[in-house]
Symmetry: C2
């Protein structure tokens, strides 16, 4: 009889899949750029998922030490496979992403190698480039300290130049200068790049610079003398268990002069400081990481949305339909209203990130030839997008988890694990609340430029400010019909950003406490809206009418829900047409046409929801979720996974003799005594 | 030198403490009701925190099996201490709350015992009451199934009455009917109360009823024949690790007729069904749990706020002040704007919950004498408050965690643990999205009553509807000054609720997808606002002018931030006075006076923040947070805790020989080969 439940689940899923009208493979190739990329991706997934090293079945029951051991094992195996299969560096990087768990080697590839390659002196590169490239040494990037993170200028670790021996002395002068949170430092890395204040022989502090420091012996992996290293302990909500985020203290550690990363700034043999040609030349690394977080956020939302939409498709609750069965949960507006817009965000962020990566490459090549003109714009854009995408994606993962009701709280649902691994992105690589200030600063600068010099030099990220010079009285979505035009939302979002920035500039003497967050959000949302408008325009060229129609609705939904989420600004600046009636007609809600338009769009996209999630191309191994299984047999999967819980290894738990039995016996005795008294 | 950091931390904390102008002990006694309660609480804390069974230092490193074993050990110890110290049941219950971890025995006390006591037949009580009371048997409450939870009517487990043997047969007919999520069922409970559809000999299904079923042998704790029991596995984000949430399947299990909880509904010996006198008489249990979640949410927010505010007080970042030191993080408006309103919510929820408990007792005594008149109102109020409080408290815990930047993601910060244990409250005891519908239903009913019969029978929870009959043109907070009067916010929130309900009634044929959530929120916030108004009025009677002044500001801040969070409704119904200028003056933001008022209030409360958190009376043992230590020595605490991480037990990790060394050697060989090629 149990089979009945599972068959019904499977039937619901295949019927939903059959309802899809779009060509899923075509949309999937669009998300993976092209068919060849998708096939290469599939090959990697097959290689990893059939290799026992990457098996996930025992993962939920492992201790942190076991998770760390497993993570390092996966890293070693990936590099072994890289040799066997002649994978490119990009393929190996993709494999590391695919293991669905932050592993120590991430940092070697994402931070250690790029920063040395781009900023190391020719001597240093000559000596170490190949070793780093092939992981003959394993690296980490030591920036954050116990007392400071995002504010690099306040770091306390010192690197004092000693002209007599032509060495730097790396030192941790205080408890709070202890390097902390450093990925792969705790147990794995043999070398590191240390951010430290450069102190000249004169005693002058010329601010933070980077130094290449050996941490562990290449003979036996023991920590070098004078350095104290350890793992900082478990992370909240069991996130990042496989990564050995570590701490390090340096007690007057000497390194040779060439170990300073001195492509830009230098210290001469006799201890004079040579300034870099441009103060921000070393910003590239952080921007690169931030820009990669945009697509990354999109794929995370995609995973959460896929699991939640699949489960809501086979889960039946509440009132019964004409077929005598309870309704599929996804059919309830209060459910799909939470999930379909999430799908639209995944589609937007994935494409946005791809465009940003191209823009970043373009900037990097200009930068390599000394042209820093694109740097400020890229800095503002990546900061704003990092905040926007991570904030939204974190919230979406939790919304997805909660949409699954009670079972969403099972580890086997998988979305809690995704959340725990993703949530620190709000505070790392620049705390979102601090990054907001960068966006505000750039926007205010652009505003003042506009006011003083006119609209000549407007950059894409603040192009919306032009509206302050135009007649905008015709902007606003009044009727149901107006919301069907993407330009309605785009213009509202642009004008809202312009007004918020202007308002911020006017009240600069004392803005209210949440001003930076609102400005940053408005500015970035306007920028994204324009990009989404361009994506919509290009859809007809890429697709047949059916896919183009569905995806247009999906991207339009992104715009409408962005307006909805920004309604406080939109209403307070009166960007929706007001009813002409007096305040007596207070029950006339001016936001209703927008909300109804969103509801209708969700319902139109609904039959395509399973197809749109299938287009992400996730295998069951990638999702590792009992509620997100491709075939829909969710209860069977959940039941099967519960049987693997170690507590179920014995019928009577260990705790019985020690504590349950004494508790029962005491209780029986007390009950007996109490009854006698009665 | 390390000591310097710690001394500075400690100094910052004691200076902040010295700045407090309120009498902390007096405010603390107010939160604990009275001095005697506080002293009793302190005694309990001392007893537990000095007992090694309740030591928390190894907790972050334990496996789930170890966490379960520890949890049962704590339960056994608490009942041992109860006998030793002659604790009352209430004191034992408080001790269970104090261990800062959901433990299996929670469910025996919160669900199993109350439901049997209130609904069991005299025969059943005669046989089991004392055993239950003294835990001579250990119980669980089996409601949720794999396929259904909140919607009790759809549960599939059956209890078929067999007149020939005068027994019920409990059976799980499908996979999806497997009982699931049941706290203490997996490994601990010997008995359970099973929700099952009662099937009469005629075949008639008369819906869900409760049955008392033995699950495990009292001899050796083995599972009884015909029953399959196990633990459902780990929970998301490592929440509830000590609780053995379990599953159970019943294969035609026979129980005697008197095991039906038959105080209200009954089945006669020959199999006739006797209806309960009132359909909702059995609702009490769920309402009791929900009402207890209001104060519970408040204390959870209090913990998160205490940790975050303490850390923000000693953490220094960013620009330097006149003393040459960086600013305390708490001094930034973007930080305290997130934390001070959180403090206000803690103070509101704690008091609100206390009032609700009194109201609940009142209703229960009326109910016991057959008076069901208060039931519907209590059901709507507890549903709405459960949603409001859990939603806000979950968000506050995450906001608190994120306000701490990178370190907030350390397990040792403690707030991630609080979040993981608290977050399921959004989906258990009634999924918040489902409960919203209950609130909407009650509000619409009241609206139609008002429209048809006038304002005669208005209940407190929908009293705001009276405004639909009044002239409300004078409502609205225009000036800075107006916001100082609590009535400004209260009237706005009441009118907003009235208009949202009216709007919902008018569009009932097709409300937009988020309507239920907005209505429920508006309705409950109006109810709470009125209560907060009453609390403010009573403060002058309870306190001296200083405390009364500070607490008035804190409760006023709750009202103002509630209006701020509801601005979309408030603006769309035009409840803030509009500028008389035309739409040309779009840069005139009508919400600014409100925001500035909030900012000012936060700044006025700021010097009292440490005092207001101290008034919660948490010991370091209770908070178990390196960043929330009373003395402010946060970096010392974090450093010390990191040293206890098991990975730090060996200098070279186990993974070295197996994977790190091979990876390094392969890399060195490849680098060598590559260099030769060059």
């Amino acid at each position: 009889m149990s089979r009945l439940t599972a068959e019904k689940n499977a039937q619901d899923m295949s019927q939903a899949r059959a309802k899809t009208s779009i060509d899923v493979a075509r949309v999937r190739n669009f998300l993976y750029i092209k068919q060849e990329e998708w096939e290469a991706h599939q090959k990697l997934v097959w290689t990893l998922s059939t290799d026992p090293v990457f098996d996930k079945s025992r993962r939920p029951f492992m201790s942190r030490t076991e998770r760390y051991t497993r993570a390092v094992g996966m890293a070693n195996r990936i590099y072994e496979l890289k040799e066997t299969h002649k994978w490119s560096d990009a393929e190996a990087a993709r494999a590391i992403q695919l293991v669905d768990e932050p592993i120590p080697m991430n940092l070697h590839a994402m931070a250690f190698e790029p920063v040395i390659t781009s900023q190391g002196s020719p001597e240093l590169l000559q000596k170490y480039r190949e070793l780093i490239r092939y992981r003959g040494i394993l690296g980490c990037y030591l920036q954050t300290e116990l007392g400071h993170g995002t504010n690099v200028a306040a770091l306390e670790t010192t690197a004092t130049y000693l002209p007599e021996s032509k060495e730097f002395e790396i030192h941790s002068p205080t408890l709070s200068s202890t390097k902390w949170w450093i990925g792969a430092l705790g147990k794995t890395a043999t070398h590191g790049v240390v951010q430290a204040k450069l102190i000249l022989p004169s005693g002058e502090d010329v601010g933070p610079h980077l130094f290449f420091v050996q941490l562990r012996s290449l003979e036996d992996h023991r920590v070098l003398s004078g350095i104290t290293i350890g793992d900082i302990g478990p992370k909240a909500m069991h996130g990042f268990p496989g990564t050995d985020n570590g701490f390090a203290r340096f007690d007057h550690i000497r390194i040779p002069r060439e170990n300073m990363l001195s492509k830009f700034a230098q210290v001469t043999e006799d201890g004079r400081y040579v300034k870099p040609p441009h103060a921000k030349l070393s910003y590239g690394g952080m921007m690169y990481i931030r820009s990669s977080m945009v697509s990354g956020g999109g794929w995370n939302v995609a995973k959460g949305a896929t699991v939640a939409i699949r489960y809501a498709t086979v889960r039946r609750q509440g009132g019964k339909g004409p077929d005598g069965l309870e309704h599929q949960v996804i059919s309830y507006p209060s459910v799909h209203y939470r999930l379909i817009p999430m799908l639209s965000r995944a589609y937007v962020f994935i494409l946005l990130g791809r465009n940003l990566s191209s823009a970043f490459s373009h900037m990097s090549s200009r930068l390599a030839s000394g042209d820093t003109s694109l740097l400020a714009e890229m800095h503002a854009t990546t900061s704003g997008l990092k905040v926007l995408v991570t904030t939204a994606a974190i919230q979406d993962l939790e919304t997805a988890r909660r949409s699954m009701g009670g079972h969403g709280f099972s580890e086997f649902a998988g979305v809690g694990r995704m959340y725990a691994n993703y949530v620190p992105s709000a505070t790392f690589e620049g705390d979102n609340f601090v990054l907001d200030q960068q966006v505000v600063r750039a926007a205010l600068k652009a505003y003042h430029r506009l006011v003083t010099s006119g609209p000549a030099d407007m950059t894409p990220s603040t192009h919306f400010l032009r509206l302050l010079l135009e007649d905008t009285s015709n902007i606003g979505g009044a009727s149901q019909l107006a919301w069907e035009d993407p330009q309605t939302s785009i213009r509202i979002l642009e004008l809202r950003a312009a007004l918020v920035v202007k308002h911020c500039a006017l009240y600069q003497d004392g803005p209210d406490a949440s001003m930076d967050q609102r400005v940053s959000k408005a500015v970035t949302e306007a920028f994204v809206a324009v990009q989404v408008g361009k994506i919509i325009t290009s859809l007809r060229e890429t697709f047949g009418p059916r896919e183009s129609d569905v995806l247009t609705k999906l991207y339009l939904l992104y715009l409408l829900t962005t307006v909805e989420n920004g309604l406080v600004d939109v209403l307070s600046f009166r960007l929706l047409p007001q009813s002409t009636a007096s305040s007596a007609s207070r029950s006339d809600d001016s936001t209703r046409t927008l909300r109804v338009a969103i509801k209708q769009l969700c319902q139109e996209i609904l039959p395509e929801a399973i197809g749109l999630t299938d287009a992400f191309g996730f295998s069951d191994w990638e999702l590792d979720s009992a509620l997100g299984v491709f075939d829909g047999r969710v209860y069977e999967a959940l039941y099967a996974r519960a049987q693997t819980e170690p507590l179920n290894g014995t019928e009577v738990p260990e705790a019985y003799e020690a504590d349950i039995k004494p508790m029962l016996q005491r209780g029986q005795k007390l009950a007996e005594a109490s009854k006698c008294k009665l």
